[in-house]
Symmetry: C2
Subunit: 204 residues, 2 copies
Amino acid sequence: MEQRAAHRSGAVDKRRQILDAAVTVFARQGFHATRVSDIADEAGVAYGLVYHYFNSKDQVLNELFLERWSLLLAAIEEAERTPGSHREKLGAVAGFIFESYRHDPELMKVIIVEVTRAANSFGRTHLEEIRRAYEGIAKIVADGQAAGEFRSDVAPRFASQAFYGAVEQLLTEWIFDDVQVADSRFEEARNLLVTTICDGLEPR
Amino acid sequence: MEQRAAHRSGAVDKRRQILDAAVTVFARQGFHATRVSDIADEAGVAYGLVYHYFNSKDQVLNELFLERWSLLLAAIEEAERTPGSHREKLGAVAGFIFESYRHDPELMKVIIVEVTRAANSFGRTHLEEIRRAYEGIAKIVADGQAAGEFRSDVAPRFASQAFYGAVEQLLTEWIFDDVQVADSRFEEARNLLVTTICDGLEPR
DNA sequence: GCACCCTGATTGACGAGTCAATCAGGGTCA
DNA sequence: TGACCCTGATTGACTCGTCAATCAGGGTGC
């Protein structure tokens, strides 16, 4: 029983090992510049094993993206449902994204650089999932307008884009800098975002 | 005389022709997916001629980027100098960027997707030039704070990132959509940006 | 006849994906 | 208990297509 479990989980571990190694090398060299052998080397695993668990190099990235993006979508829905002001809801969304970066900067770098901002490759492939996030944010804005918390002369979809774009740009700067970001910065960034954008969305 | 002009300008034209063709194919297929022969075909020119005018495929993209980015930097400086409120200055910057997209969507797509947002390849190469733009915008914000037009509890550099990020995200949506954007949208987008961000930056 | 523009076949490197072979553990039956 | 088989994990050399970059030569105007 334990043997079987060890056997099974041994297999699962290798798969996970490959995914984790892929994050590291994708983050370091970028998707295009990494050879499948780089992933295998980083994972301490034979070249062919990558193809035992995945159909292609693309699929490795897809899996990494979907794994984390589904968490973001869940967090947005959670924020929608949680009672509180709509400003707080947007703050929760921004907070989750910054927190994701704090938790695993390499993974967030890969997702943003290789998927979210890659309009010619994976961004197109995952357009639907990506847009689901924008729509979730837009819904919070629309609800906030209905509740009179936000001005109504700004299209929710536009506001959503501006909000998300600002978040991602701040992350991108950290990504470019490639230095450890001090913890205080995360809180600061979240507050800045909420302050600036939400105050800008307040009724006049 | 006319012959010589034709000769000389013939050469210059070919160079230009190659650059223009590159914009089209880069926009259609992305930098990585376009072969140098694609550029030559689109330009109606022999493969080798591309290497007569450029050292590498990379250099073609670099040239396209620098050509346009220098215009943006000039526009930002121009906005700084032009008298008026700081809100108007930021509006001018956003207006210039949206106008650039209206004027040549393919070129802007290439620049944003392949350079500005490509943290692993050309974005890194041109980091300095890109940041010069952020700094220009930050300077406008800082001046606005000094003049009492903007609140002072938001770091100019942060505000600049949020502002630019919002602009680029709106552009990115248009890029993804890949449809002709109605003229009214440009004006709308510029107004939204200025309204939301600048109102958010107003003193409380 | 020289200086430059232009051509496109050729080369050489590179990397994704394949595949045939080995290995390890666990179940089965006498 | 031990002989046997089966499954699927693991390996890495190899194939095969692709593409950037080179190069040798053919025009053309001055």
